[in-house]
């Protein structure tokens, strides 16, 4: 479902009704009797994101995930939406240098942090050693999971979790490849590991 364009509420009975007992709390939320001023945002909010070294000033529905913000609002469609539930790894990006799942990150939560996507990996038109290694070893078939695989693999090497093939398999297990290109992905990471170390 596209959070930006669809009406927020579905047809049918609202589960809100089940929480009738919490009506008091809901009322309190509308006008919180707290000393500090409420700062909450509902609906749309201004969100500034730093992606691949560039600042993007956006106005987003607060529900927008980092993945949807990248794909639908910044035209950065490299990160893929596979399961949208943090199970497949296709949406993997780097936030402040560590690999995370952009589908389980709210865009507004990523404010003030440095996001790097597959589009930000190549430098001056030259592929990152991991990108080249995936080509050299044919580390994909359909390619849908590949941006996530590569972002995850770069972090895997940087973390020091690519010393052995077993380590690579264990620490890459959060990236599913339904074409089962796994042996070639392991070979690609093995190659890039040395080149990244030298860089």
């Amino acid at each position: 479902m596209d959070d930006q364009t669809k009406p927020p509420l579905r047809d049918g009975p609202s589960r809100r009704g089940l929480f009738g007992a919490f009506g008091l709390a809901a009322g309190a939320l509308a006008a919180p009797p707290v000393a500090a001023a409420p700062t909450g945002s509902e609906g749309h909010a201004p969100v500034t994101l730093s992606v691949n070294g560039r600042e993007h000033r956006l106005t987003l529905d607060v529900r927008t995930t980092l993945l949807d913000a990248l794909r639908e609002h910044m035209d950065l469609t490299g990160a893929k939406k596979g399961c949208d539930h943090g199970q497949c790894g296709a949406c993997t990006v780097h936030v402040d240098g560590s690999r995370v799942l952009s589908c389980l990150t709210l865009a507004i939560s990523a404010e003030g942090r440095k996001v790097v996507t597959i589009e930000g990996l190549a430098k001056d038109g030259e592929l990152h050693p991991m990108q080249q290694a995936f080509i050299d070893h044919d580390g994909f078939q359909c390619g849908y999971c590949t941006p996530g695989q590569i972002m995850s693999a770069v972090a895997c090497v940087q973390e020091g979790h690519a010393a052995t093939d077993d380590d690579i398999r264990e620490y890459m297990s959060g990236n599913l490849c339904r074409c089962a290109a796994y042996p070639r992905i392991v070979a690609a990471i093995r190659q890039a590991r040395g080149q990244m170390g030298a860089a």
Binding site: M1, D3, P8, L9, R15, R16, L18, F19, A21, F22, L24, A25, A26, A28, L29, P32, V34, A35, A36, P38, T39, G40, S41, E42, G43, A45, V62, R63, T65, D84, H85, G86, G89, T92, S98, R99, V100, L101, L104, T105, L106, I108, S109, S152, A155, C156, E159, H161, R169, E170, Y171, M172, S173, G174, N175
Partner: protein, 336 residues
């Protein structure tokens, strides 16, 4: 995902203040804290959790991100990520059961995101709980019934279950904490308090009330007391895949041997219980006795004695027994 008010808390006081506007601290509460987001956002997308306000406590993380090890024990800040704790030298060498439980859980990406405070409160993976198109789920809709009792229940719990709910507690870290008699530090509208970790997760009589934290209370850290047993400790996790899968049986064992005689032992069981499970009967049988394979088997039988199985999970008591025997014997070898 339904609309919600997004708010940020830059201090613990502010988080507690905002969180206090809720009638319940449970999954159905209208105000939820957001840390790593790996449970809350997942369940919000599934329409299982429908908070009206989400309080982002990510800005708190630096203050909750400390790990302290020393003669007085181990303190883990609630904002420490799973990856940070799993990779910490002091945790790895002094409390291997904790490092193992974290390293063997989830994926590298999730371990980078998920915090320890949120990890212990992760929700069950019961398919009926996670899919609101099933109308009967006592955990989601109090009093509605339980589909899992008669539906596919291969991954459901056999220890600590009731006729109201057989959902399995899915986590690993909490099993290590319960075994090591950890304490939880919370901050809330009534101030700070510490409670035994074992008292956090509740039994299945009212499945929708999962934990004993009060509205607005925020976990700030965990304290693990020192003991001769923490160094010779391990987490053995049995699962359907070699990696990135929840346990179908697991054992957290911490052992202090005098020669081959058990001076002290701590045992937690996971992957088969309604909540993080401490196997006290097994511990009592082992204490003061030589740790033979027979003794380990007798202890494991005692640990699973109260198991209640359903159609598809009848394999679990035997798997649980074998898992615990192997964990005990492996822990004994760590001492040698």
């Amino acid at each position: 995902m339904r609309p919600f008010v997004y708010d940020r808390a830059a201090t613990i006081d502010r988080a507690v203040q905002l969180g206090a506007h809720t009638a319940s601290g449970q999954a159905d509460a209208p105000v939820q804290f957001l840390a790593g987001g790996t449970t809350v956002l997942d369940l919000m997308k599934l329409d299982v959790m429908t908070p009206q306000t989400v309080i982002d406590i990510t800005p708190l993380k630096p203050s909750l991100r400390t790990i302290e090890t020393g003669p007085a024990g181990l303190r883990l800040g609630a904002g420490v990520t799973m990856a940070e704790a799993a990779g910490h030298d002091g945790v790895r060498t002094q409390y291997p059961v904790i490092a193992d439980s974290l390293k063997l859980a989830a994926s590298a990406q999730i371990r980078n995101m998920a915090t320890l405070g949120g990890n212990v409160l992760q929700r069950t993976r019961c398919g009926y709980y996670r899919d609101p198109s099933w109308s009967r789920c006592n955990k989601r809709v109090p009093g509605s019934g339980c589909e899992a009792l008669t539906g596919p229940n291969r991954n459901h719990a056999v220890l600590g279950v009731s006729k109201a709910c057989i959902a399995q507690y899915p986590g690993d870290f909490a099993v290590a904490l319960v075994a090591l008699e950890a304490q939880v530090e919370v901050d809330g509208p009534d101030g700070r308090r510490t409670l035994p970790f074992e008292a956090v997760h509740r039994g299945p009589d009212q499945p929708h009330i999962e934990h004993s934290l009060k509205p607005g209370e925020l976990i700030t850290g965990f304290f693990v007391p020192p003991g001769a047993w923490t160094r010779s400790s391990l987490y053995l996790k049995i699962r359907d895949r070699a990696s990135y899968e929840f346990a179908i049986a697991s054992a957290a064992v911490a052992l202090d041997l005098d020669g081959d005689v058990v001076r002290d032992v701590r045992i937690g069981l996971g992957g088969m219980a309604y909540r993080p499970w401490r196997a006290r009967e097994a511990e009592a049988l082992l204490k003061g006795e030589p740790l033979s394979e027979d003794a380990a088997e007798a202890a494991a039988r005692a640990a699973l004695k109260g198991a209640v199985t359903h159609e598809d999970n009848a394999y679990k008591p035997e798997l649980g027994r074998r898992t615990l025997v192997r964990a005990l014997l492996e822990a004994a070898r760590m001492e040698a």
